[in-house]
Every structure is written in C-alpha cells, then in structure tokens.
C-alpha cells in the first residue's frame, strides 16, 4: 500500500512520517513539493515542520506548491489526506479544512506530551481507535491555536467533525479544545499533535500515534 509524504522546503517531520508508515506496514513514498505527480500513492500525509519558514502565515506559501494543486483536486474526490501540524495549517490555508491555526495563547512554542481524546472514528485515519479513547501524543508548535467563526464551530460540532480534542488542559487556547478536525466527507483530516512521533516507545511518550497509520492501511484494504 503506497502512502505518500510530501516534502516542502522546510518540512521537518517528513522522515518521521515515512518511518511511521513503514512501521505500520505500508510502503512510504517521498513526494516533492515542486512536482504535481502523486506517484500513484493511495493516500498522502502532509508532515509537520516550518514549510517556507512559516513566514507570512504557517502554510500560506506551501498551499500554492504544484503538488498541492494535485492534492486539492484529488481530495475533493475523496482521496485520503492527513495533515499533521504544519500539514494541518496547509490544509486550512488550502480551504480543504475550515478555520485557521493562530499563535498559541501563551505566545511560546510548546513541546509537551499532550493527553487527547478521540472524538471521531469514522475517518480512514482514525478508524482504528475507539470512540473516546484517551491518547498521549506530543504536540510541538508555536501556532496551534484553532480558531474559527461561531458558525463554523457549530457546524463542526453538530456534524461530529471534531476528530481529536485536548484533554486535561488546553495547551494553546484552541476554540472548544479542538486538536484535530475532518472535512464533511471524512477523507481529509488535520491534527496538531504529532502521531508520527508516538509510534515507538523508545523515542516517543507512547505508541498511541501508530493507529493513524494502521487505520489508513486498513481502510484502503477494505475499500
């Protein structure tokens, strides 16, 4: 099962995302921002990092990369896309997901082992979790505060499109403790926490992130 990971200039967690796909049993495929060729992958991960230095706004410049034009078209037809951290920011800037990620309330970059709860298991990226399951996954970002208009928040909540929520403490001032959301169709998911950094107990606080990658492989098999 070929899963792509896009490297933008300034992507940082691309190698970890490739590793996570491999550990989950998939075939990781590196994709480069400057080409619009999706290399026959069946799903794609937009990894964390500081694409284009996060200058202007996080994700604002990457959204215009050639690879994104292919991804946007594919996503509108149901192609599975997971955006992690900077990838989530890119998805919002691309309008594949609503809302925006803004400066953390505490004004600092925050790297911590964050408790979360899973709130939606109907997406191909979260189907391997149990509803309400508690996870501990690292967050590490300076602009992770999810903001959206009141109507958008009502829409997300009423349609059950909040995928992950911060538990115990809100680390950054996100509206409704939102840590991750999905589009209406469920194929596009964006999360601020880094599941690819919680796939081995040796290097992460848990292995709670692995199910994002096993979920997508399962979903693709079942299709």
């Amino acid at each position: 099962m070929r899963i792509g990971v896009v490297t933008f200039p300034g992507s940082l967690d691309d190698s970890s995302a490739l590793r996570a796909i491999r550990l989950a049993g998939g075939t990781p495929v590196p994709l480069f921002h400057a080409s619009d060729d999706l290399m026959e992958v069946e799903a794609v991960v937009l990894p964390g990092g500081f694409s284009y230095g996060d200058y202007l706004r996080c994700g604002a410049i990457s959204r215009f990369a050639p690879i994104m034009s292919s991804i946007i078209i594919a996503a509108e037809h149901g192609f599975p896309v997971l955006g992690i951290c900077n990838g989530f920011q890119i998805l919002c800037e691309s309008h594949l997901l609503p809302g925006a990620l803004t400066r953390n309330q505490g004004l600092h970059f925050v790297c911590t082992d964050q408790p979360l709860t899973v709130e939606n298991i109907s997406t191909p990226w979260t189907s391997g979790y149990a509803l309400g399951q508690r996870l501990v996954i690292p967050i590490k970002n300076g602009e992770g505060s999810f903001q959206a208009s009141a109507e958008t928040l009502i829409e997300l909540e009423s349609e059950g499109r909040v995928a992950l929520r911060y538990a115990d403490k809100n680390p950054n001032g996100s509206k409704n403790e939102i840590a991750g959301i999905t589009n209406a169709r469920g194929n596009v998911v964006g999360v601020m926490p880094h599941p690819e950094q919680a796939v081995e107990s040796l290097t992460g606080p848990s292995t709670d992130g692995l199910a994002f990658f096993t979920s997508i492989l399962q979903s693709l098999v079942g299709r």
Partner: protein, 81 residues
C-alpha cells in the same frame, strides 16, 4: 517609486494573545494610555512609479489571497510616500 502599505489585523472576534500581552505589559512600565491593543502585520511594498489602477487592483487581490487569511484577518491597503 511609491510604497504601498498593507496592514493585516486579526478580526475582532479572534483571540489576539500578542496584543493582550502588549496591553498587559504597558501598565507595568507605567504607561496607562491604552484601553486595548491589537497586534497585526504590515507589509511595505515598493512599486515603480505611481501605481496604476490595474496594479492597485492586483495589490488588493494579493492582500486578499496571500497576505491575509480572510478566515481570521482583515486588511487595509494604503498608498504611501
């Protein structure tokens, strides 16, 4: 040569922790003038000669699509010196 200034501010309903931090710091330094502070970005764009109508409309479009994110921000374009 002219300078165009694009000011981008967070919408009033969006949390502005940077502005809040400044508002909190001012009185600690003895400055009491501010009722509220919001922090935004500004871009100084240099263009050749006086900007044409077409250029100005291009700048508007750039401000709307690239320089600001309409989900959370508003912008103003000013033609400077």
């Amino acid at each position: 040569m002219a300078t165009i200034v694009v000011e981008v501010m967070l919408k009033p309903e969006i949390l502005d922790p940077q502005g809040q931090a400044v508002a909190a710091a001012l009185p600690r330094l003895g400055f009491t003038f501010a009722k509220a502070v919001r922090q935004g970005k500004c871009f100084e764009i240099e263009v050749d000669g006086t900007p044409s109508a077409e250029q100005l409309s291009d700048i508007e479009r750039a401000a709307e699509t690239l320089l600001s994110n309409p989900v959370i921000e508003t912008y103003v374009v000013r033609v400077g010196a």
